[in-house]
């Protein structure tokens, strides 16, 4: 089956604009994660969904960032009033299920969306 997919693969926008980044998880995976990877850094956690609800959004940097997963499958990361510092690769991952006891649940990553804010 197909892995995690993300669209678009590249997005160039101007400072102050609004962008949406889409993630299609592996079918049947209930847990979905967003990470952000800046140049020269490792991925940084943004938000984690279990089903439709955000179980942990502690990594969102500020209220310009918002994510939804209305039907428990596809997720959209939304960034308002983009700033140059938002430029990064945004990674999505999914796993079969989340939860503190699921020690063996591997997170499968998508190819990422490279966002450039001019």
């Amino acid at each position: 089956g197909a892995g995690v997919s993300q669209t678009p693969s590249n997005k160039v926008t101007e400072k102050g604009k609004y962008v949406e980044l889409r993630c299609d998880p592996i079918s049947g995976h209930t847990a979905l994660y967003w990470y952000r990877q800046s140049l020269g850094q490792g991925p940084e956690f943004l938000i984690y969904f279990q089903g439709t609800g955000a179980a942990d959004d502690s990594g969102l940097p500020n209220d310009r960032f918002f994510a939804v997963r209305p039907e428990g499958s596809v997720s959209t990361l939304k960034i308002q009033r983009t700033e140059r510092g938002d430029s990064a690769v945004y990674l999505c991952a999914s796993s079969l299920k989340g939860g503190a006891r699921s020690s063996y649940n591997e997170q499968f990553f998508g190819p990422g969306t490279r966002l450039t804010v001019l």
Binding site: G42, P43, G98, Y104, F108
Partner: protein, 107 residues
């Protein structure tokens, strides 16, 4: 809060030589540690996890709680090992990654 440190940004090793990629962590609870790898133009993928105590592609990693380390080792490097390697710690479902080490195998 948890933290993962990979002290080497770049590491070059001759083919056939041993490889060791260093990883240290800080976490107050019982850690779950992983190594992820990203080959050129491919997505990030899991290489191995400490719970499984497995060897994948000849790589092993042992969790040393006393030294808070989870170093990745391979006795004989191969050219196809050239890639970006990230150490990660999982706590409360989120992964905390190190900054990564770019491993280059010299033919």
């Amino acid at each position: 809060a948890q933290r993962v440190t990979q002290p080497e940004k770049l590491l070059s090793v001759f083919k056939g030589a041993p490889v060791e990629l260093k990883c240290n962590y800080s976490y107050s609870g019982s850690p779950e540690l992983f190594w992820y790898v990203q080959y050129s133009r491919q997505r990030l993928q899991l290489l191995l996890r400490h719970i499984s105590r497995e060897s994948i592609k000849g790589f092993t990693a042992d969790l040393n709680k006393g030294e808070t380390s989870f170093h990745l080792k391979k006795p004989f490097a191969q050219e196809e090992d050239s890639a970006m390697y990230y150490c990660a710690l999982r706590a409360n479902e989120k992964l905390t990654f190190g900054t990564g080490t770019r491993l280059t195998i010299i033919p």
